[in-house]
Amino acid sequence: MAKSPGGEPRSVPDPAGEDYDEIIRGEQARRRRAEPAAPRSPPGSVGHPGFVESLIPVWGSGREAVADFQEGDYPGAALNGALAASDLFLAESIAKGVSKGAFYTVKSVSKKPYDWDRYVRPWLGGDRGMLAARQHGHHWAIPQNGWGKRVPDRIKNQPWNIKPMSSPEVHGRLTNSYKGKPRFNAVERYVYGTPTWSKVGVGAAVGHPVGAAKAEMEKRP
């Protein structure tokens, strides 16, 4: 027998009441299924960050790591902890680079003031202290030659684009065979030919969105 919204029997005949109640119950069940479950953070956990919060360097991955640890997800905590540490390393690298002089700016009125082996290279080995005596510097992102010739010197001959090399042989094998030794494979070129801060930066650039997406997925029932 159909009942009123308050649960009391209706005082008047209501032939459609049962059908109506059935429709209402079905609709309520459908809404319950459609609504996302509330974050399931157990008591004592700091809780997982949201998608946007996960993208914040150090904070997002740090909070995720703490939450994972408190919930016993140790592999997740380790991964997010590593991501937070990489953010800190990247920030430190940038701060160090800026404090030493992030960009070379000209002093003289030379015809080619950003020339690599007349002006910029001596500065990198002197004032800037980036290259040791006899140490090679490799243009890792924008090459000196090839397509890099179309890039102005003032952009490519800068500290951010120079990777100090451990030896001329390593430098040579990044782009070609060198004195009978073969060119490095793609993995070796990446390992030897890019600065640490760029590798960490790539890791952070990939890790944060992945971590944020993972956090979103874990919120779903």
Partner: protein, 170 residues
């Protein structure tokens, strides 16, 4: 023009005050004009790279720097800000110079070549040695080519052009 001051451009031989300085080793420097000569970075001032420096000027006269006084940061406001942020502030210098016995062109060329040979880091084309485009070059061959260009110069301006790839008129 002040007869008691060098004319520019001028080629200079200064002390080696790099990260791993070698006593007695000279480094080359090129000064384009008076303003260029009258400024330096703090790094150079702190290490005294101008003290004792000898200049060969465009009039064939030679000078030695006896003393250097730091006059503080120079430049327009925004240039100072930019250079401060880039850690390359320029300081004005008050330098006391004394004219010394002039050097012949041959003496200048020999001294410049000795400096080039002693400071390969200042002239290295890393990518040429690594063979990025053409077969790898030997560093000494590149230095020898540069020195040969220097030795072929008939005037001081040609010598500066050969070493620094500039275009000073004869």
């Amino acid at each position: 023009m002040n007869p008691n001051a060098p004319s520019f451009p001028a080629l200079a031989f200064r002390r080696d005050v790099g990260r791993e300085p070698v006593p007695g080793r000279e480094r080359l420097a090129l000064f384009f004009n008076e303003e260029d000569f009258a400024t330096s970075t703090m790094w150079g001032i702190e290490r005294g790279e101008r003290l004792g420096m000898e200049l060969a000027d465009s009039d064939g006269r030679c000078w030695r720097v006896l003393s250097v006084v730091d006059l503080g940061v120079v430049g327009s406001f925004w240039e100072r800000v930019l250079r401060f942020l880039l850690r390359q502030s320029l300081h004005g210098l008050d330098q006391e110079l004394v004219e010394i016995e002039p050097l012949t062109l041959d003496q200048l060329k020999a001294r410049a070549c000795a400096s080039i040979q002693a400071n390969p880091d200042d002239w290295r084309d890393d990518e040429a040695i690594a063979g990025e485009v053409d077969p790898p070059r030997e560093e000494q061959d590149l230095l020898d080519e540069l020195k040969a260009k220097a030795m072929a110069a008939q005037t001081l301006h040609q010598l500066m052009n050969a070493i620094y790839e500039e275009e000073f008129p004869d």
